[in-house]
Amino acid sequence: MTDTGADRAIPRPRGAAARLIGRKLALVGLVLIGLVVAGALFAPWIAPFDPNDQMFDGLTLEGAPMPPDGKFLLGTDLLGRDLLSRLLYGAQTSLIIGVVANGLALLIGTLVGITAGFFRGWIGAVLMRFTDLMMAFPALLLAISLAAIFQPSLWIVAMVIALVNWVQTARVIYTETTSLATRDFIAAERTLGASTSRILFRHILPHLIPTIIVWGTLGISTTVLLEATLSFLGVGVQPPTPSWGNIIFENQTYFQTAPWLVFIPGAAIILLALAFNLVGDALRDVLDPTQRGRD
């Protein structure tokens, strides 16, 4: 295997000026994340309605949703529920999945990557061949099959996403661990008789932390997108729990006459994913010593 694959995810260093903008963009990202987190946390207080209340006056007599107006700021969905309230509660879903699923994926990926990279031998070979195998899976097909097997719930969806998403992390951590393990200072520690666990926890892991943080942040973006896609296909988070993806799934048939029902949650998904990408990218510039100052 060569490293062309990793190139796609790790862009080359950018100029000092660009890096500054990167930071500025990172700030934008942080603000966006802050807003979503605040919206999710304070949803019970700021949401104008119960997100699951199918209001009688939330639908026209013919069963059409209400457009945005003074009462329903973003209009209502096809069951007469307030869209704004559902979006706020939907942020909870996205964040929970983002954090839990991605945390799990990161954990699996790091464990596999370190084990394979540090111990090499047959364990390493088996683990990395398995990682290659997972890379060859059409991810979405796999996720759909898994979601169908374990009858979906919030936690199951998180688990499915983790099972699909750990692969990238594993490969990056593996590459880094192998290169660390052959460095002089590790060799020196070894000759000094340091234990394996000491080398792992005192020397290898700290060096990997920046990578883990960067991948953790970027991964949330992927996770949010995958959750939305699964929910959009109807195999994600179960109703009536709002998720930005299933809001679009439920209202899709009306996207021509009531486009706000599709494009407002769509914009929310994009903004959140964008925010984590911006922050993750800036973090990479700041944290990753190998990427710094090569411009």
Partner: protein, 306 residues
């Protein structure tokens, strides 16, 4: 080189074997019974058992998988449970549509991504660069279904420039290809930008400039051919990402490719079709990765094939 190739081919075959095993196993434990789908709602218990026996679905997992694999090695992907047609025929009849979409998507992402990347590199650090790089961030953050619906709404429903989904003419291809192209262009533009910056700094470009050649000429005739190579290698990897995403785009645009075939089969547990599409996709991904790796040394001489 030959030894490397042989080793990689064996590896690829093993990967496909693994994919087939895992998928088959997942479908085996799925809490849905394909026999019920075949037997229909009025079937007697006897009919159901008969069908189960005929399809060998009463056998233990190992036997079922063994049979499937034996068939596969003889080039037989089995017959669809519900359509009774050969899976290979069903996939082959839909593959052209998927390949056409893939081709369209790759053209779109190259045109968009490369031009964005070149522009950003030439005006590095300026507003154009920042705007383009921001755009590339947005495109990698957008889910396919949102972009598909947005393009449909704007260009098909509102403006009426393109048909609202369907298949057959060039006009039908534009929006689905553009959806995938826009989403992929973000990666290409960033790759192209950094590659171009590296090349522009190289000695021979400076020499060319010093000789008094025009900027446009230098960029187009000298820098571009060199900068574009590493980007081209990415197409192989792109196939994998593409294969993962066709289910959504094909279903939103009603594109008659293998993604739709798979989605309909998943709904009704038509296991031979699901297996077939998964394996064909995995095959495309493996080949794509292999090609990318094989091209790599031609682009960057520091890389050797081990």
């Amino acid at each position: 080189m030959a030894a490397y190739l042989i080793r990689r081919l064996i590896q690829s075959a093993l990967i496909l074997l693994g994919v087939s095993f895992i998928t088959f196993f997942l479908l085996y434990v799925l809490p849905a019974d394909p026999v019920r789908q075949i037997a229909g709602r009025s079937a007697t218990a006897q009919t159901v058992e008969n069908i189960r026996e005929q399809l060998g679905l009463d056998k233990p997992f190992v036997v079922q998988y063994g049979r499937y694999l034996t068939g596969l090695l003889q080039g037989d992907m089995g017959r669809s449970y519900l359509q009774k047609t050969e899976v290979a025929e069903l996939i082959l009849s839909r593959l052209p549509a998927t390949l056409l979409l893939m081709l369209g998507a790759i053209v779109c992402e190259l045109v968009l991504g490369l031009s964005m990347g070149i522009a950003a590199a030439l005006w590095r650090g300026r507003a154009v660069d920042q705007a383009l790089m921001m755009t590339s961030f947005i495109t990698v953050s957008a889910p396919q279904f949102v972009v598909s619906l947005l393009l449909l709404y704007v260009f098909a429903v509102r403006l009426g420039w393109f048909p609202i989904g369907g298949y057959g003419t060039f006009a039908h291809l534009v929006l689905p290809a553009l959806t995938l192209g826009i989403l992929g262009s973000g990666w290409y533009s960033r790759m192209m930008r950094s590659s171009m910056i590296d090349v522009l700094r190289a000695d021979y470009i400076r020499t060319a400039r010093a000789k008094g050649l025009g900027r446009a000429r230098v960029v187009l005739r000298h820098a571009l051919p060199n900068a574009i190579l590493p980007v081209i290698a990415m197409i192989g990897i792109d196939i994998g990402i593409f294969m993962g995403g066709i289910v959504v785009v094909e279903s939103v645009f009603g594109w008659p490719g293998i993604g739709q075939l798979a989605w309909q089969a998943i709904q009704r547990v038509d296991i031979p079709i699901i297996m077939g599409v998964t394996l064909v996709s995995a095959f495309a991904i493996v080949i794509g990765n292999l090609l990318a790796d094989l091209i790599a040394p031609f682009i960057d001489p520091r890389i050797t094939l081990r």
